[in-house]
């Protein structure tokens, strides 16, 4: 069995290393001190099991899991018990609370062995569980080996493209594997509005609406970009603006 250790604290990593040393059949593929390294290493090395801290610089444990895209069983290791519910939602094998003893660690490892080869959750489920507050504050997008962090406050609009959404922020576009409905559920409905089957727009970016056909309109954004507005979308928009 191969494992990877992700924790930003050296001492925490060394403790896991020490406990794993009693299991010669387990190979530690990599130790990562932050989320970026973890995403990269997990994609390259494909471990059987991930020991994952939650609070880390840049990317937290849930964002790492989302970017890895599922498929790797995970044991969360953290001092905070507040994430247990979310860990359960992303089908974590176990949730180790720091500090933990050897027997607790062994129990988690045994559970992991028992569940090796089980089906892992779909990426969409991971994305939904990855958000900490009721609404997303930032969106993480994996682009090859690179990871982009897009603050939701800078997101202009999103467009559905088959199994992906195209996110447009400050003139740049990013592709993320997620459905547009999945994204819509994560965004604050007072700021973002589904104006069309394929489009979500940030309300404050819209400068005017123009009629297009009998049933549809066009929204013009502050940078001149034009987006189609369906009839249902227009109703949602006017309901939000309280007209």
């Amino acid at each position: 069995m191969t494992v990877m250790i992700v924790d930003d604290e050296e001492l925490a990593r060394s403790l896991l290393r020490e406990m794993l040393a009693d299991h010669p059949e387990i190979e530690i593929l990599a130790e990562c001190a932050n989320g970026f390294e973890a995403v990269k290493a997990a994609a390259q090395r494909k471990p059987d099991l991930l020991f994952l801290d939650v609070q880390m610089p840049k990317l937290d444990g849930f964002e790492v899991l989302e970017l890895i895209g599922g498929g790797i069983p995970v044991i969360f290791v953290t001092a905070y018990d507040t994430y247990a519910m979310r860990a359960f939602e992303v089908h974590a094998i176990d949730y180790l609370l720091k500090p933990f003893g050897k027997d607790r660690f062994e129990a988690a490892l045994a559970r992991a062995r028992g569940r090796l080869g089980e089906a892992m959750p779909a990426p969409a489920e991971l994305a939904a569980a990855a958000r900490s507050s009721p609404y997303l504050e930032r969106i993480v997008v994996k682009d090859g080996a690179r990871v982009h962090i897009i603050p939701v406050s800078k997101l202009d609009y999103a467009e559905a493209q088959d199994d992906y959404v195209m996110l447009v922020s400050a003139g740049k576009t990013y592709l993320k594997q997620q459905t547009i409905s999945g994204l819509e559920a994560c965004l604050d409905p007072r700021q973002f509005i589904r104006i069309h089957r394929s489009y979500i727009v940030k309300l404050e970016r819209v400068v005017k609406m123009e009629p297009y056909t009998k049933d549809s309109r066009i929204a013009v954004l502050s940078d001149g970009k034009q987006l189609p507005v369906s009839r249902a979308g227009y109703q949602r928009l006017t309901a939000l603006l309280g007209e």
Partner: protein
Amino acid sequence: MHPIVRSGKLWLYLVSWVPVVYALSLILVEQSRLSWLAGITVSGPLCLVYAFICLSSWYVCLGLPLRREQLPRLLISHLGSAVGVGGLWTALAKGLFVLFALGGSINAVLPSIFGMGIVLYLLAVSVHYVLIAVEASQEAQAREAEARLLAGEAELRAIKAQINPHFLFNSLHSISALTSIDGAKAREMCVLLSGFLRSTLGLGEKPAIPLEEELALARSYLAIEKVRFGARLQVEEAVAPECVRHLVPPLLLQPLVENAVLHGIANLIEPGFIRISARRNSDEGVTITVENSFDAEVPAKNRSGFGLASVRKRLQARYGGDATLGAGPGEGTYRVELRLPADEDANR
């Protein structure tokens, strides 16, 4: 008990009736053609009795608190009792007149006495309402002060509790890891942690401590976090020696230093620093700053929160408007600046 009696000012109240005795005697002398001695013989006992009758209106006022919706009822009750009491007073005057078998006619002055009785009684009623209002506002002030004190204590308890859980768990986890790697270091960490916990428990009971004690606490906290974060945490200190005896509320800096670690250093991949500095102001106060490196991409609302709000409240409670707290991001650092008014430890 009546507030005038309770405060031992009864004699002062009775002295204030002397002009009334004089006025009443004057009326009797002028209109009933009595001698001054006879006038005072009647008006003296009359006023003494009435002084106590007016005092008793306190209880009537207590029973009929001033409320806008009850104003008509209030007026009718008080006017009614004024007429009653005034009538009683007039009858008493007549009685005394007959008792002392004085010459002259009293009947001509009875209306004046009756009117005077009503006015005096109504005056007493209004003074009593003022007294009640003053007492109520003093009571409210005392209650408010007490509530503020309680809130301060509760806040302190909350801060003490806030220090504990995750910091403690993470530190214990570090110790757990160190036991097999470096036993001596694990022991050192145990000592650091106990020292820190002991001082937070002790300091909380004092209203104010010298800045050096608060800084020592921050140092021991950062020494513990340094074991966890290793080279990622650099600590710098620039404290002017003349500031160390300045008094500060205990655990004032602690939430700021904790924020600097939690929202600054913990979010950084590269090493970052925390710099604590203090300098004397021209007005004998001090300026204390806590600066830290931070990741500007982390959403702002995750950076401050409870810690800053509690520090601000505690400054307000101790210094009122004389202390200021400024916080915000600068060039690559997040900076919190406290300006405290003069408050030197004079006993040392």
